[in-house]
């Protein structure tokens, strides 16, 4: 038995929750693009936005066990909400995030009633169906969404009148990174709360939860709505920092990509989505000269390899390595 099992229960739990050096190092590293790679700030902005989106998926997939193939629906709704607000004259970024959060949260809340009732294949199909449905609807409602060409006329105002959005991306990346960090803090708190424990219980054994008195459906509805809000904020960030919104923001491709990123990084570890997003998007940028077919060939092989060899993604592999090398994490 290790020292941890002899320590009292309170100390043990506190130990689980404290900030690790690796976490602090990670967040410090996110500041690097400002200093050493300013020409990549636009890419860094995209990574931060996608990382936030992946984080929201991790909350429902990695922590609660809800497999969703349509999570981009909430990202897209958030993007369009902020985009439309700007197009119609209100380009203030922070309140734009709020508008997006409300819109995506509302959709998430309504759909959560359906989601919470199903499991297994029916659940996967329903999330897929919802995503596809929204995609079709957005396509048809081109008077609202701009259809294939996307929304025109988005102009994001400066933040607090001080920070202007420019082509270089300083403001954009700072803005997205701040949002990512703040929301991450909230998510981290949530994970280590009794609610977070209940979510993991649902993931580990959904059948057992009612038998210990858990109102499982309510829990699922809550986290699903929260995840939708976060995804919506990520979408709004995209709309505001790039001043473009097109149909792909709620497409199946985006739902599938974020799923791949999360699996790559490792589910249920909060940082998995962030790492996966960074690796995936940087790699895609590096190989952007490649024909998209070839990109998906390698992603396909990667998926097969990850499932067969590293089922817990990069972070899972790292923690396995750490255990083998007896490195305290």
């Amino acid at each position: 038995m290790t020292a941890a099992t002899v320590a009292g229960p309170h100390q043990y739990m506190a130990e689980q929750m404290r900030w690790r050096w690796s976490e602090i190092a990670f967040w410090l590293a996110t500041l690097l693009p400002f200093l050493v790679a300013p020409s990549y700030l636009v890419l860094a902005n995209q990574v931060a936005i996608t990382a936030l989106f992946a984080l929201s998926l991790d909350l429902i997939l990695g922590f609660s066990g809800i497999v969703s193939l349509g999570h981009a629906a909430y990202f897209g709704v958030g993007a369009y909400a902020a985009g439309l607000a700007s197009k119609w004259g209100w380009g203030e970024p922070l309140s734009g995030l709020l508008i997006a959060a409300l819109a995506a949260g509302l959709l998430g809340y309504v759909t959560s009633f359906v989601i919470a009732r199903f499991r297994h294949l029916a659940l996967i199909m329903i999330t897929l169906g919802l995503g596809l449905l929204l995609q079709e609807a957005a396509n048809s409602a081109s008077w609202l969404t701009g259809g294939f060409d996307g929304l025109q006329g988005i102009h994001t105002w400066s933040i607090f009148g001080e920070f202007h959005f420019d082509l270089y991306g300083y403001t954009a990346y700072g803005y997205s990174l701040s949002a990512l960090f703040l929301i991450f803090l909230i998510a981290r708190r949530l994970i280590y709360s009794p609610f977070g424990l209940a979510l993991r219980g649902i993931r580990e054994n959904g059948q057992r939860m009612p038998a210990i008195g858990a109102a499982t459906r309510e829990h699922i509805r809550t986290i699903y709505t929260i995840a939708a809000i976060i995804a919506g904020v990520a979408g709004a960030l995209l709309a505001e920092t790039t001043e473009t919104v097109s149909l792909e923001v709620l497409g199946f491709q985006r739902s599938a990509d974020v799923l791949v990123m999360l699996i790559l990084g490792g589910t249920g570890r909060l940082y998995g989505g962030l790492i996966g997003a960074a690796v995936y998007m940087v790699a895609r940028d590096q190989f952007s000269g490649l024909n998209p077919q070839y990109w998906y060939f390698w992603i396909g092989l990667l998926l097969i390899a990850v499932v067969m060899i590293l089922p817990n993604g990069i972070l899972g592999g790292l923690s396995l390595l750490a255990r083998r090398l007896k490195v305290p994490s």
Binding site: L121, A122, I124, M125, L133, S140, Q293, G300, V307
Partner: protein, 286 residues
């Protein structure tokens, strides 16, 4: 004759095609609970086999059909033996991801070899054109498609209901553990069923070329429709797949004819309503 019959006819043909594409997945999902999202990659393979044999080697259309079936079967056996069988007890998510990986690889491979354009196919003369009856045009190819699908369906039902093999399949779908306990070689049975189901998908892919066109995105586009048929029909049920395929095929055609602005919204709505009413599918268990 009012145009609704034309729509019904087209819907029927499309539904039959969907049935051929889906029945294999429904039975194997019901038997082993293995989520094989690469199912339509086998269909795509069948399509490309037909295209290659016809365009590069001048084979007649009908002769390519059995080859499409066999090629898809063999490919599925290879994949199953080499990779899939280790994941029968894995979680749904892993199976999804593994098979999506296979789909991506197959799409890229198809694009590499054949390019991304829709493949041209020259049907024999007697297959082209349409028959005019009571004021409506009925495409000859669709009549053929409905005919051959009905023959296959009857053969399937006959096999399932009367042969020993069929009885074993039904037992294994119904309760895998008990079937094993009764001495049925479930693993071997599954391998055979998997091969047959994939072969049918390959045949469906070959037949689909004329109706919906073949390009590398087929594996993903039609996967969605197949998944809808399978989940709405109920896992492991041939009757369910048939009913769901019909409902889907006719709804889609009707939607596109009467309310084209809706696009595919109608099928997705129909699917979700049906799934919410019966989460295990129309003919699913419990």
């Amino acid at each position: 004759m009012p145009p609704v019959f034309g729509v019904l006819f087209d819907g029927l043909a499309y539904g039959m095609l969907l049935f051929l594409l889906s029945v294999g997945l429904s039975v194997t999902l019901g038997m082993m609970n293995f989520v094989n999202l690469a199912h339509c990659s086998f269909a795509m393979l069948g399509g490309y086999v037909t295209v290659t044999l016809m365009n590069a080697y001048g084979w007649p259309f009908f002769a390519t059909l059995p080859v499409a079936f066999i090629a898809a079967s063999l490919a599925s056996v290879a994949l199953e033996r080499l990779i899939f069988r280790r994941f029968y007890n894995a979680g749904e998510l892993e199976q999804c991801l593994l098979t999506i990986g296979v789909v991506f690889v197959s799409i890229a491979a198809a694009a590499y070899v054949y390019g991304t354009a829709i493949q041209p196919v020259q049907l024999p003369d007697y297959m082209r054109g349409s028959i005019n009856y009571a004021g409506l045009n009925f495409a000859v190819y669709r009549i053929f498609l409905i005919g051959i699908s009905l023959v296959i369906t009857i053969a399937l039902v006959f096999t399932i209901e009367t042969t020993r093999f069929g009885a074993q399949v039904r037992a294994a779908v119904n309760n895998q553990r008990m079937a094993r306990g009764l001495g049925i070689n479930v693993d071997g049975l599954f391998a055979l069923t998997f091969a047959l189901g994939s072969g049918l998908a390959g045949l469906g892919g070959a037949l689909a070329i004329e109706i919906v066109g073949l390009d590398p995105s087929f594996a993903l586009t039609y996967l969605i429709y197949v998944l809808i048929v399978v989940s709405v029909g109920g896992l492991g049920s041939i009757a369910g797949s048939f009913a769901a395929a019909m409902v889907l095929g006719i709804s889609d055609m009707a939607g596109k004819y009467y309310v084209p602005a809706l696009g595919s919204i109608l099928i997705y709505l129909v699917m979700m309503v049906l799934l919410m009413w019966r989460p295990s599918g129309l003919f699913g268990r419990r």
